[in-house]
């Protein structure tokens, strides 16, 4: 399968790979997996007091498109509010990375991961 240059760039130089302490109350963790291909994705956001995502990290085991989707997403969410980040659609990721139809599910995974991370963060917050 031919990957687009953007996918290859993110795959070879993934941005923001790493982990935060998931017990940290300023951190939201989203864990998702794609049964179709066995990919596993962990996406974490660090949120400041104003509800803005200061930083994001990811760890993905999977194909180039899954890695690129999560890498791109961590770049996109930085500086966004939680509401703005929740609005990111998988189609935007797929479009930016020029994913072929068979790899669109990788971008679905990334969208689900950020939503899960936001939910995790909000569930942790007291009150």
């Amino acid at each position: 399968m031919a990957y687009s240059e953007k996918v290859i760039d993110h795959y070879e130089n993934p941005r923001n790979v790493g982990s935060y302490d998931k017990a940290d109350t300023t951190v939201g963790t989203g864990m998702v997996g794609a049964p179709a291909c066995g990919d596993v994705m962990k996406l974490q956001i660090k949120v400041n007091e104003q509800g803005v995502i200061e930083d994001a990290k990811f760890k993905t085991y999977g194909c180039g498109s899954a890695i690129a989707s999560s890498s791109l997403l961590t770049e996109w969410v930085k500086g966004k509010t939680l509401d703005e980040a929740r609005e990111i659609k998988n189609t935007e990721i797929a479009e930016e990375l020029e994913l072929p139809p068979v790899k669109v599910h990788c971008s679905v995974l990334a969208e689900d991961a950020i939503k899960a991370a936001i939910e995790d963060y909000q569930n942790k917050k007291p009150g």
Binding site: T29, M31, V32, G33, A34, P35, A36, C37, G38, V40, K42, K59, Y61, V104, H105, V108, L109, D112, A116
Partner: protein, 182 residues
């Protein structure tokens, strides 16, 4: 010669519609069926008959492939019960299970740094096999039940098995690669 291509694979092979399959009976029935439709028997038949025999043979082969493999069999069985598989659109979000998957993937990626990589990867495979066995038992129990709630659980269980199989095949190909390098 006439086969009902619309009947399910269990009926095609004349075995009970169940997750537990008698492999011996399955293989015996397979050989019988293949003999009936073998292309050699149709060498002098009309083109239409030859085409049909090929179609039947393909159907039988596909049936064997599905019924022999526990995961494929479970998927098929659930499909017969009305479960739909939207593989491309489905995301699994069981944090505990995914964390386990991630840890397994991590240990697999670190195999080469171990003092004995071949043993390290063999340990991972043993570990994954044990998890697969445990999950197969769970799945078996769920598939025996007619409870609709359990069908959903069985579906989730099949999803997990897909991850485990994928993990196993990756571990096995790494093992083969490491052994080649010895």
């Amino acid at each position: 010669m006439s086969f009902d291509l619309s009947s399910d694979y269990f009926h095609l092979f004349g075995i009970p519609v169940s997750f537990s399959v008698d492999t011996g009976a399955l293989m015996q029935r397979y050989r019988e069926l293949q003999q009936v439709v073998h292309p050699d028997r149709f060498a002098t038949s009309s083109e239409q008959e030859r085409r049909l025999s090929l179609q039947y043979a393909t159907h039988i082969n596909e049936g064997l492939r599905v019924l022999k493999d526990p995961l494929e069999r479970a998927r098929y069985l659930l499909q017969l019960k009305g479960v739909q598989w939207d593989d491309e659109q489905t995301t699994l979000s069981d944090p505990e299970f995914l964390m386990q998957q991630m840890e397994l993937r991590e240990s697999l990626s670190e195999v080469r740094e171990q003092s004995d990589p071949v043993e390290a990867v063999a340990d991972i495979i043993t570990n994954v096999d044990a998890i697969i066995q445990e999950n197969t038992r769970l799945l078996e129990g769920l598939l025996q039940s007619e409870d609709l709630d359990n069908l959903d659980k069985a579906k989730l269980q099949v999803r997990k098995m897909q991850f485990l199989q994928k993990m196993k095949s990756e571990a096995e190909s790494l093992e083969a690669k490491l052994e080649d390098e010895l």
